[in-house]
């Protein structure tokens, strides 16, 4: 037997179903964001860890020029090393055929028998090369898919200056290539960088590495940290041209993936709480009002003999049920959305499998916040209402007291008709409620405005990168730094309009205990084809006596212009430089450091050398130029700006950046939910007044004015507040989205705010329309007979 109060509860819920659904939706979306983001981050983190584990990814990588096999045994004997293996690694160039640019590739050795001990590969298709085969390869699956290649196809490859025709026998994924970028480039592009594996004997023959290796892979014993081992390895292998051992953390693929996950994690830490907070605030306001509207019934229930606790519990159940159903729906949808996003990321990161994890904390947080907001809203009012004596409720309700309110309308008496005075007096009579609605709508608008700003920030990033900063058509990289003569040669080629040299050297930058392993880019003092810009997007000239850092790099190192920095160059004679920070540049991709190319050359004792060049070309002569570049043995890679641009757009649309679209949708729904609720509540509270006006002979439009005028004023007040809130919220969201990998520039555009305002106005008009329909259906007789 259901208690009568519970039946009342069910019917009350049914009566306010529209509004209840709107509240549940808003709270549900807050919880959804929370659960989705934490689930996604957990899943990606766990999947990466499991993938690395299962395929035995090394903890330390030790590249050398060429070392005999016996040297590796000495490293393997170190007590901190759990496992060690050597391999051969080479640069190659794939010729995709007539009229196309050559593609850079990296080739790696597989042991002559079986699978690698460390850095194993996941064979997605086909088989491994036969033991003694000289021309069979396993190709990176991502590249194969991007180029439409499959087992059975052949590739023309230049390795160590000799051309080979290689047969694809299998396709593989590898944990060390989750994210593939051509050396010197930031943005991954499956189609423009290849990795393939061959049996060791074949590769040793191609690169003249018989009995030798050029990379050692190490895993650490439990509890050991990589740094000490790195130092040992560098010392031990110094005679063999050690380029500097590095830890897994500095493996480019892992660094990128970590950065993306870190970025997601930080968005998960900032964005959902904002959404949830706004949803909770709305829930508080709405539940308070729903309970307020039940005032008389509460008095009556008490008159029947129900205790204050019973009545209070009854209404708490109402609001908690709404909040709970929203939280449950949000959790379920959040789990689903988290899964969907994880599957989406699986493709993006090329994980062969996913380890789904759910963070119970996110549910607890989501539920707790919803419950607290709902009960706080309900309790505040229930407590007030319970102080009423039943007798008060049995009498016709006293009209709300307007006599002690500051009479805003009275001040403008002369210009206002009575309906306008009603609107103004009500707003000034209940400033708390009005403020609640204003802040709620403003918060919704701020959410839309800041999400839109972030969305257009992505577009600004693309625009700045490829229209403001990089003005070249293509970038050519050389196998090794070439003298000035090579650049002049390039400039004389048919179709080349202009050239600009660049020099990229690997380096470790240190400031005290802070360090960063990256590159130094040498550029002309005032680069024309690849500009460096300051925070105001103005071109920056490089000083000869210092180093210019990208903003995120300056943050990582904790330095400002004027501070001294220690720079360990990892190429050539490996100088260690002490340089002052000359300037901080605004960059969008990566965390580069810049030096004037002449100064860099002098520091390296290799003046006037370039490791690559930027070109502007005559597009009519493009194909001849490609052919000429392919025939230049010193050219290891050519990339077109158009491809890089497409890759960046792709990165932003498929990577973590895609979350912004989900956010935009959620922001729009929340905005609408808030506005609609404000309109619904106003209508519910005023239906009797509206009926009275209609009875007196006011037309629907005239009566509607009293109701919708209030909504209009609240909306108008919310807009400027929303602009202010949006400004602050944007920084919070951008902070969450930006990573070392890419930064989102914040550019406040009138159009974004216009769109957000428009969204609020549309939400207000649609809500007004829905309430208007209720107004036209208002049963005058019933509305008048009901006591408030």
């Amino acid at each position: 037997m259901v208690a009568p109060l519970d039946r009342k509860l069910v019917r009350d819920l049914w009566r306010i179903k529209g509004q209840a659904a709107a509240i549940a939706l808003v709270i549900g979306l807050g919880v959804l964001m929370q659960v989705m983001m934490t689930g996604l981050v957990g899943t990606l983190d766990e999947t990466r860890r499991a993938y690395y584990d299962r395929y035995r990814l090394a903890d330390v990588f030790v590249p050398v020029t060429r070392a005999p096999e016996r040297v590796a045994a000495r490293l393997a004997d170190d007590r901190r090393v759990a496992a060690a293996t050597t391999r051969i690694k080479g640069q190659a160039l794939i010729d995709p055929g007539e009229g196309a640019l050559p593609i850079r590739a990296q080739t790696l050795s597989l042991p002559d028998e079986g699978m690698p001990r460390l850095n194993d590969i996941y064979l997605a298709e086909g088989r491994l090369p036969r033991t003694a085969s000289a021309d069979e390869i396993v190709l990176l699956a991502g590249f194969a898919r991007a180029r439409g290649l499959s087992p059975g196809d052949s590739l023309d490859v230049t390795m160590n200056g000799a051309r080979h025709r290689l047969r694809i026998v299998g396709l593989a994924r590898a944990p060390e290539f989750l994210y593939t970028t051509a050396p010197g480039e930031m943005v991954p592009d499956d189609a423009r960088f290849a990795v393939f594996w061959m049996r060791r004997a074949a590769l040793a023959a191609a690169y003249d590495m018989r009995g030798a290796f050029n990379e050692v892979l190490l895993t650490l014993e439990r509890g050991e940290t990589p740094q000490a081992l790195i130092d040992t390895a560098d010392r031990l292998l110094a005679p063999y041209g050690a380029a500097g051992a590095y830890a897994l953390d500095d493996l480019p693929s892992n660094r990128f993936v970590s950065e993306e996950i870190r970025g997601l994690k930080s968005s998960a830490g900032t964005v959902p709480p904002i959404f949830l907070g706004i949803a909770a605030f709305l829930l508080y306001i709405v539940t308070a009002r729903i309970v307020q509207a039940e005032r008389e019934q509460i008095g009556l229930l008490k008159a029947f003999g129900y205790s204050g606790v019973e009545v209070g519990w009854h209404y708490l159940k109402l609001v908690v049920l709404i909040a709970l159903s929203g939280a449950v729906a949000g959790s379920v949808a959040g789990i689903w959305a988290g899964h969907a996003m994880a599957v989406f990321y699986q493709t993006y990161f090329k994980f062969p499998f996913l380890v789904f994890t759910l963070d119970p904390v996110s549910f607890v947080v989501g539920f707790t916040i919803s419950m607290l907001a709902a009960t706080a809203g309900g309790l505040a009012v229930v407590r007030h209402v319970l102080t009423l004596t039943p007798a008060v409720a049995m009498r016709p309700p006293a009209p709300p007291d307007y006599s002690r309110t500051f009479d805003l309308a009275g001040a403008f008496r002369r210009w206002l008709d009575q309906p306008s005075r009603m609107v103004l007096r009500r707003l000034s009579r209940y400033p708390g409620r009005m403020l609640g609605s204003v802040v709620g709508i403003a918060a919704g608008m701020a959410l839309s405005a800041s999400t839109l700003t972030v969305v257009s920030g992505f577009n600004t990033a693309v625009d700045l990168s490829f229209n403001v900063m990089n003005r070249s058509d293509m970038t050519v990289s050389f196998t090794h730094p070439l003298p000035r003569k090579a650049l002049l040669e390039l400039g004389r080629m048919e179709g080349v309009l202009r050239t600009e040299p660049m020099r990229v050297v690997p380096a470790i930058l240190r400031n005290g205990t802070r360090s960063y392993r990256g590159t130094i880019e040498g550029r002309p003092r005032a680069p024309a084809l690849n500009r460096i810009i300051d925070a105001r997007h103005q071109p920056l000239e490089l000083r000869r006596d210092g180093i210019t850092l990208a903003e995120p790099l300056a943050d990582i190192l904790g330095v400002a212009p004027g501070d001294m920095l220690s720079v360990e160059v990892r190429e050539g004679r490996r100088p260690v430089l002490r340089l002052p920070v000359a300037a901080v540049a605004q960059t969008l991709l990566g965390a580069p450091a810049f030096m004037e190319i002449g100064a860099l050359g002098r520091a390296l004792n290799e003046p006037e050398r370039a490791s690559g060049a930027l070109l502007t070309i005559d597009s009519a002569a493009r194909e001849t130029l490609y052919q000429q570049l392919k025939d230049m043995p010193a050219v290891i890679g050519v990339s077109r700006k158009a491809d890089a641009r497409a890759a960046l757009v792709e990165l932003m649309n498929t990577g973590p950046g895609s979350v912004r679209y989900v956010m935009l949708l959620v922001a729009a729904i929340i905005t609408f939910g808030i506005v609609y609720n404000a309109a619904r509540i106003a209508f519910a509270e005023r239906s009797r007044d509206l009926a009275s006006l209609r009875v007196m002979g006011f037309t629907r439009a005239e009566a509607g004015f009293v109701l919708l005028g209030e909504l209009a004023i609240v909306t108008l007040l919310a807009i400027p507040l929303g602009i202010g809130l949006g400004y602050g919220l944007t920084w919070a969201i951008v902070e969450g989205f930006s990573t070392d990998l890419y930064q989102i520039p914040v550019v406040f555009r009138a159009s974004n705010y216009g769109a957000a305002i428009l969204a609020v106005v549309i939400a207000a008009v649609v809500s007004a329309g829905m309430v208007w329909r209720n107004l036209t259906q208002l049963d005058l007789v019933t509305a008048l007979k009901t006591r408030e």
């Binding site: 016709p396 006293a398 009209p399 709300p400 007291d401 307007y402 006599s403 008709d417 009575q418 309906p419 005075r421 009603m422 007096r425 009500r426 009579r429 009797r688 007044d689 009926a691 009275s692 006006l693 209609r694 009875v695 007196m696 002979g697 006011f698 037309t699 629907r700 005239e702 005058l780 007789v781 008048l784 006591r787």
Partner: protein
């Protein structure tokens, strides 16, 4: 009270075969069952009967708040049953005043402003002050409803209803929520409005004593008129036994 023949003024309402059914099928409730009635202008009429007898339904239909299921209602020479929603609004605005049991004042407007609410849109209103003087509340005109007693609120409601100088004033249980002294005062105001302005006043009530002040008493039962009684010597409101 006696039923006598006397000359009848021109009718203000002519109701013929009026029916009102709520709901359909076996659950249908017949609130009015083919009612016929002619009401002359200028009288104070009391509609008496137990709750559910149809008196409020009739009031709502001839007041333009509700629609008949069948039959016809003529207001002077105009057919209310054929009017559009907009025409009914116009009718209420120009010709009809309403007074309800729970006053239905706008809490955010003062007594004066509540009256002004109507005078702003009426065709030929009296001054709000005049209307308030009529109900004896000229001294309280700048008070909000929350500062007025129940009887005072009801008198403001009457002032608001008569300020537009309506042709007819409908009162649905106007004293239902009031004690006897305040109730009498309210009835006196209604009677004054009838006498001094010549407004036709229709009062729905189940308090039989009110009948003593009416020119005509219509007794309702089961959705139809049981009896119409003319009263040649209506009592003043002060003399009514409560």
């Amino acid at each position: 009270m006696q039923n006598k023949d006397r000359p009848t003024p021109a009718p203000i309402f002519t109701v013929s075969s009026l029916s009102k059914v709520y709901g359909t099928g076996p659950a249908a409730v017949h609130a009015l069952r083919g009612l016929d009635l002619t009401l002359p202008e200028g009288e104070l009429v009391v509609l008496l009967g137990p709750s559910g007898s149809g008196k409020s339904t009739l009031l709502n239909i001839i007041g333009g708040l509700d629609r008949a299921s069948s039959g016809r209602v003529m207001f002077k020479d105009r057919d209310l049953t054929a009017m559009t929603e907009a025409q009914l609004t116009r009718y209420r605005r120009d010709h009809v005043g309403f007074v309800f049991q729970f006053y239905n004042l706008m809490p955010s407007l003062t007594a004066y402003e509540n009256v002004e609410l109507v005078t702003e849109i009426a065709a030929d209103p009296m001054a709000p002050d005049e209307a308030l003087a009529l109900v004896g509340l000229e001294q309280r005109s700048h008070h909000y409803p929350s500062e007025l007693s129940g009887g005072e609120q009801q008198r403001v409601a009457i002032a608001r209803a008569v300020a537009k100088q309506p042709t007819v004033l409908f009162c649905d249980e106007p004293t239902g929520a009031l004690d006897s002294t305040t109730g009498r005062a309210v009835l006196k105001v209604l009677s004054d409005v009838n006498k001094r302005l010549g407004t036709t006043v229709l009062i729905v009530t189940h308090a039989a004593a009110t009948a003593a002040m009416a020119d005509r008493v219509i007794h309702f039962a089961d959705g139809d008129i049981r009896e119409i009684v003319h009263n040649d010597a209506p009592l003043g409101a002060a003399e009514i036994e409560w």
